[in-house]
Amino acid sequence: MATTKLGFIIQRAGYKCENPKLALTHSIASQSVEVYLNDGDLVTADIAFVGDGVLNCLKNQKAMERYGLTSTESHIKNGLLLDLNILVCKEDLEMLGLSEKDIVMDAEEFGADMTTKVVPFADITKMMEQVNHLLFF
């Protein structure tokens, strides 16, 4: 039994660029990876939003209403529902004039227990040190 830990670092804003969405959908795929692995083996995904990437976390995205596309907000909520560890850089939020009240902090309506964690970049550095591999989006 072994676990490989992946760190998904999202540093770009979404929609014009597919990276943030693909980061979230690939990290969510960690929940079904067992079909390829031996019993007890796992791949886990931690996600960190940094730089302009924190803009992906804004609430009230209406991508479905305007373009018929699943919003990044919905993907984040799905991630929380699946108990993914989602970190948002505190300094970058503040730099952009944002705070916890502006971003997706939970997915209570889906019954998710996990919440978004707004943390100093130093905590994101620790996460990057703890994972086996880094994937920058």
């Binding site: 992946l6 959908t25 690939h26 795929a29």
Partner: protein
């Protein structure tokens, strides 16, 4: 020898990131490493067969097929490909198609992962 998993999300034509990734994969294969190669997003364009080699555009079908002959495993994100109209019947021979969990599974026993994001 080790295992290298490369993920690339950039399109075949436009950024040359796939050129980089294929050349790096080739160098790793030549050194005896096992290489898994995952393409997702716009990079699924690489999976289409019948690419015509013009000198103004990246053309990777030939080197890729040579690398597959030397043991490279390459897989495209099926949903990303289908969303772009890249169906199975126009997929290059030897190019696999799976869901995104294939990429994560490949990282499980990889010694190194190089993830090249999209444009």
């Amino acid at each position: 020898m080790g295992k290298l998993t490369i993920g690339c999300f950039s399109s075949l034509v436009g950024s040359m990131s796939l050129d980089f990734a294929v050349k790096l994969a080739g160098a790793a294969v030549e050194k005896g490493h096992k290489v898994d190669f995952w393409v997702s997003g716009n990079a699924t364009m690489l999976s289409i067969k019948g690419q015509r080699a013009f000198k103004d555009y990246s053309a990777l079908q030939k080197p890729l097929q040579e690398l597959m002959g030397k043991g490279l495993t390459i897989t495209a994100c099926e949903a990303c490909a289908e969303a772009r109209g890249y169906h199975k019947d126009i997929t290059m021979e030897g190019f696999k198609r799976h869901s995104m969990d294939w990429y994560l599974a490949s990282t499980f026993d990889a010694d190194r992962v190089l993830h090249i994001g999209g444009e």
